[in-house]
């Protein structure tokens, strides 16, 4: 293996000088820089990550902490988040360590105390999430990706689900709808205190009231069983409803089949509006009118917030709810 000593020797300088060249120290002459660069290229040298990490006490690695499946249900969005988070981290010179966490913070603690990472991004944050309180108590650079009621002073990034609900209802009202159905996330999700579910629902209810829209809320019990019967039932029961709001991934996935089966066309027979990320709508062939969060942008915000925190642990806490417009389909 080629080390810094080899490079130093080949270039006829000291290890210190090589190191300074590597870090672009302005005190080094261009002449020596060139010599050293040449030796580096010649030998194919790369800094040993562990050695550097040990020396500078930074790993340039962020931990992405994902909770386990919700029951058997794995959101199709999970992969997208992980992928884009990691891509964004790479852009900023960081690596991404995947940390699976099962309703606790043991794995996080292990990674932190052994100094494997410089900070964390917590996915799918819940109310009273043990990961949040742990990170806050230990003053670990951490951003909560999601919106718990209490973030204990952690930086927070999420889509603005309250705004999304309000946009959707305003849109429906402006189109003249008077009675609508909302299929929100399941009880399982609400019971876990997942902010995106609550924030959307609360805002939807309030906005509907304010706009004098009649809204029927039909909750699925869980996320494992087929939501089709629930949709069918809702349509059968609320026959005057002219629009269907889906804030529920499984329901959004099956909705097209249900509509096809009933021979309903969108938006003429029934207006359907959902919340589904831009990047996945294509892959999953979801073509309803929707508020489309941009996961790449959310990832950028999350990673940005984390690096800012890592570089300045006592910076002011930041909370960012990113807002996405409703796009109509077909356009």
């Amino acid at each position: 293996m080629v080390t810094i000593s080899d490079v130093a020797h080949a270039a006829g300088v000291s290890k210190a000088t090589v190191s300074y060249v590597l870090s672009g120290d302005p005190r080094i002459t261009q002449a020596t820089t060139l010599k050293v660069q040449h030796a580096i290229d010649e030998l194919g040298y790369t800094v040993n990550h562990a050695a550097r990490a040990l020396s500078v006490r930074k790993t340039k690695t962020i931990g992405v902490v994902s909770p386990a499946f919700h029951g058997n249900y794995l959101s199709a969005l999970f992969g997208l988040y992980v992928y884009l988070l990691s891509e964004e981290a790479t852009k900023r010179g960081y690596d991404t360590l995947l940390i699976g966490e099962n309703d606790g913070f043991e794995a996080m603690h292990e990674a932190w105390s052994s100094k494997k990472v410089d900070g964390f991004i917590l996915m799918d944050v819940k109310d009273e999430d043990p990961r949040v309180s742990y990170a806050a108590k230990e003053h670990i650079p951490t951003v909560a990706f999601g919106s718990p009621k209490n973030s204990y002073g952690l930086d927070t990034v999420d889509s603005d689900f309250a705004k999304a609900a309000s946009s959707i209802l305003h849109f429906l009202a402006s189109e003249g709808h008077k009675e609508v159905i909302l299929i929100p996330w399941s009880h399982t999700i609400f019971d876990q205190g997942l902010g995106y579910a609550w924030r959307f629902l609360d805002s939807a209810i309030e906005t509907a009231k304010r706009l004098d829209l009649k809204m029927h809320v039909e909750y699925p019990k869980d996320d494992d069983s087929d939501p089709s019967p629930l949709i069918e039932h809702a349509l059968d029961t609320h026959t005057k409803a002219t629009a269907l709001i889906l804030h529920n991934e499984p329901a959004t996935i099956v909705a097209p089949q249900v509509l096809a089966r009933r021979n309903l066309r969108t938006p003429d027979d029934l207006q359907v509006v959902t919340v589904f990320p831009k990047q996945l709508a294509t892959s999953m062939k979801i073509s309803f009118s929707a508020v489309r969060p941009d996961i790449a942008q959310l990832s950028e915000a999350a990673v940005g917030a984390l690096l800012r925190r890592i570089n300045n642990p006592k910076a002011q806490t930041v909370t960012r709810y990113l807002d996405y417009p409703l796009t109509q389909e077909p356009e």
Copy 2:
């Protein structure tokens, strides 16, 4: 931060002894082990990962190398693979570093030469994949997750897609079908030389011939556009076909809507068979008869093969194609 010296001091022994206790060296008395354990618990000590890695030249980390999106298309399976691979690695005492790779091996090379990982798992391996030849040439412990034509001596793990195709056709023949439609992966995928596409198709064609089944193959052009029209067209054209084989993720996702729209019921009006992993069929509400690869098991095999290789670089090359039965739906 608490270091091994702190523990040694607190326990009244040397650093070496603490280290030996940590590694369970049998030469250490139970008495001292107890003393040291106590100090460790007291102080909340955890081994510094970089220091250990630097010393032993092993990181206990595996790199999972994922290619970029295929165009705009992100397989919903991606998240599942990453998740289960990481879970399996954790079980075996390894961390998972995510490495995004864009049609080359630069990121891999960077991770390897800076000693960030002990080996790699390559996702979505293609024919003439530069990652494969790189790993082979540099003798880097690596397993190819997927089946390229030439694996250059790398260990390989994949579902047995040839077997899957043959199971499906035998099943259809046994049910009395004489004429069937196959929608395989898109040209984009075939052109990239993705083994799962080729192996399935070749085997399907050969088996159909042997069983005297008439099979119409209808290729989608790419994976971004809606495959529904293609399915519609296939059904319109091949009116005598009584079964539809889907080996294409987007087509599998939209098929239920297409069938619903045409008022076709499965399996009475049209038998539909697909290949879709167990763990995702539920989430994605795919309930066709199918060969269901078990991604947890595949991940276990991949991680197992990699650790074996890491621990024994000159072990015999292993190629494992895991075989999954066809399960009928409804049962």
